[in-house]
């Protein structure tokens, strides 16, 4: 059954901060800049904002949690952004920022607030983020950490190898996705690599991080913030920009298997289940999408989402992305903004922001033809998977 809120909630404004790396600046002002830009975009004042929602997790597990330094939660925004009398706020964890967007939509629908700010601020300090894992392994980690196999990096690499072995996928094929994202980033000023084109040979020569994952298969960590202003469809009509509308959503609720919860099968199953819920919620299917923003914290995730969401059959994503099919003027444009790979690691907020810009016809040189419906699938399906469908009409 379709979501009863379909078309009733709108995205009214989008704002980016500068995108930097290895900075000694605090994170807070990046969030302030993104929020100010999102407000200016839609013509609202900070006093108009009465709802806040974010996914505030620090960029790295084990990082400190200082408000305005390593993270920006509602506490920082309330203290520094001159918002109005905030009536509702939320800090979401599962489902990344996509879940924070869903939460804001539900709050708006339920009348908890009239104008909600949603943001994702990511820290990338010069001195790094502190220890990635604790020194002692407990729980499930005791079966993996003693072997040095304790982070998303290794789990993604292991699943990717399995995929390559099973379906005969190659790095040469992966290059098509990586180069497509980098090209798109050069058409987008709000990306870290906007002035750094990439060649096939450079991709193939990139150093291995956790073989078969090379450096350029991993997103680029940045310090940045992106903010969205959301409101009801009625209120959005009175604001400056043409709105985009939320048609439906999904959150991954697949049971987490014990210990090795990043097996290839888990990616397949969680991606399939989440996508199926998304299509049901939106009352639309993969054939209705004019473009797709598919998470690429590690590049294979985009391939898994392509298959899970039904854009191509299982095992065929590496063939699907060839020959310009995912280019801006292709059959299914993918990650038109450059993806996390080339825009920067914004944990899905870049994907959501681009869906809004595409659906409202504001993507400039990246604008796809006839962008009636755009899907966003974030997380790497098993880990914090979630989805949105954003449409140009309610």
């Amino acid at each position: 059954m379709s979501w009863q809120g379909k078309g009733r909630i709108a995205f009214a404004g989008v704002g980016f901060s500068p995108i930097e790396r290895g900075t000694d600046k605090p994170l807070g002002p990046f969030a302030e800049a993104a929020i100010a830009n999102a407000l200016a975009d839609c013509g609202l004042r900070a006093q108009d904002i009465d709802g806040l929602s974010t996914y505030p997790e620090p960029a790295s597990p084990g990082a400190a949690r200082r408000e305005g330094e390593d993270m920006v939660g509602p506490e920082y925004v309330l203290a520094n952004c001159r918002t109005g009398a905030v009536r509702w706020y939320a800090s979401l964890n599962g489902g990344m920022v996509t879940a924070a967007i869903v939460e804001a939509a539900l709050a708006l629908l339920g009348g908890a607030c009239n104008y909600a700010l949603v943001w994702r601020a990511m820290h990338h300090a010069k001195q790094g983020h502190g220890p990635r894992q604790p020194a002692a392994a407990t729980g499930d980690n005791q079966f993996t950490a003693p072997y040095g196999c304790a982070s998303g990096l290794q789990w993604h690499a292991l699943a990717y190898r399995r995929y390559m072995e099973r379906y005969g996928a190659t790095r040469e094929q992966m290059a098509a996705l990586i180069l497509n994202s980098r090209h798109n980033a050069t058409l987008n000023g709000n990306t870290f690599f906007h002035d750094k084109p990439l060649t096939f040979d450079q991709y193939m020569a990139a150093r291995m991080i956790s073989d078969p994952l090379c450096l350029l298969d991993c997103d680029i960590p940045v310090q940045a913030c992106v903010a969205l202003v959301m409101t009801t469809a009625e209120r959005a009509r009175d604001l400056r920009q043409r709105p985009a509308y939320l048609a439906g959503f999904a959150l991954n609720a697949t049971r987490r298997p014990p210990i090795l919860h990043y097996s290839l099968f888990d990616y397949f199953e969680s991606g399939r289940a989440t996508s199926a819920k998304l299509w049901e919620s939106a009352g639309l299917g993969p054939g209705d999408m004019s473009c797709a923003m598919l998470y690429d914290g590690f590049a294979p995730s985009t391939m898994y989402w392509l298959e899970a969401a039904g854009f191509c059959p299982r095992g065929e994503a590496f063939s699907f992305v060839q020959d310009g099919r995912i280019a801006i003027n292709g059959e299914l444009p993918v990650n038109t903004f450059g993806g996390s790979l080339s825009q920067g690691r914004l944990h899905g907020m870049g994907h959501a922001a681009e869906a809004v810009l595409q659906a409202s016809g504001r993507a400039g040189r990246r604008q796809v033809h006839d962008s009636g419906a755009v899907c966003v699938l974030t997380g790497s399906p098993m880990f914090r998977g979630a989805g949105l469908v954003v449409t140009s009409a309610p």
Partner: protein, 79 residues
């Protein structure tokens, strides 16, 4: 079976032993039970033999008194 050769971004305590292999094996005794192993990434002969379905066998690595880790090696290889 699946595997990776970790060259950068090591887990805690493993930075000094880069590069290293991580291999995931499925137990013949019970399908669906997976275990992890590690091995020096400089052992090219080991890497060349990694294939889906290749049989491995358990050995026990005595890391320190009171701490023994099951590891998986190719039959005939020393621990």
């Amino acid at each position: 079976m699946t595997w990776t050769r970790v060259c950068q971004g090591a887990a805690a305590g493993f930075k000094d032993v880069l590069p290293y292999f991580n291999v995931v094996v499925e137990l013949v005794e019970q399908a669906g039970i997976y275990m992890v192993t590690d091995h020096p990434g400089t052992d090219a002969a080991f890497g060349d033999r990694l294939r889906t379905g290749a049989p491995m066998q358990v050995v026990f690595e005595h890391v320190e008194p009171g701490f023994t880790l099951p590891q998986f090696r190719f039959p005939g290889d020393k621990a």
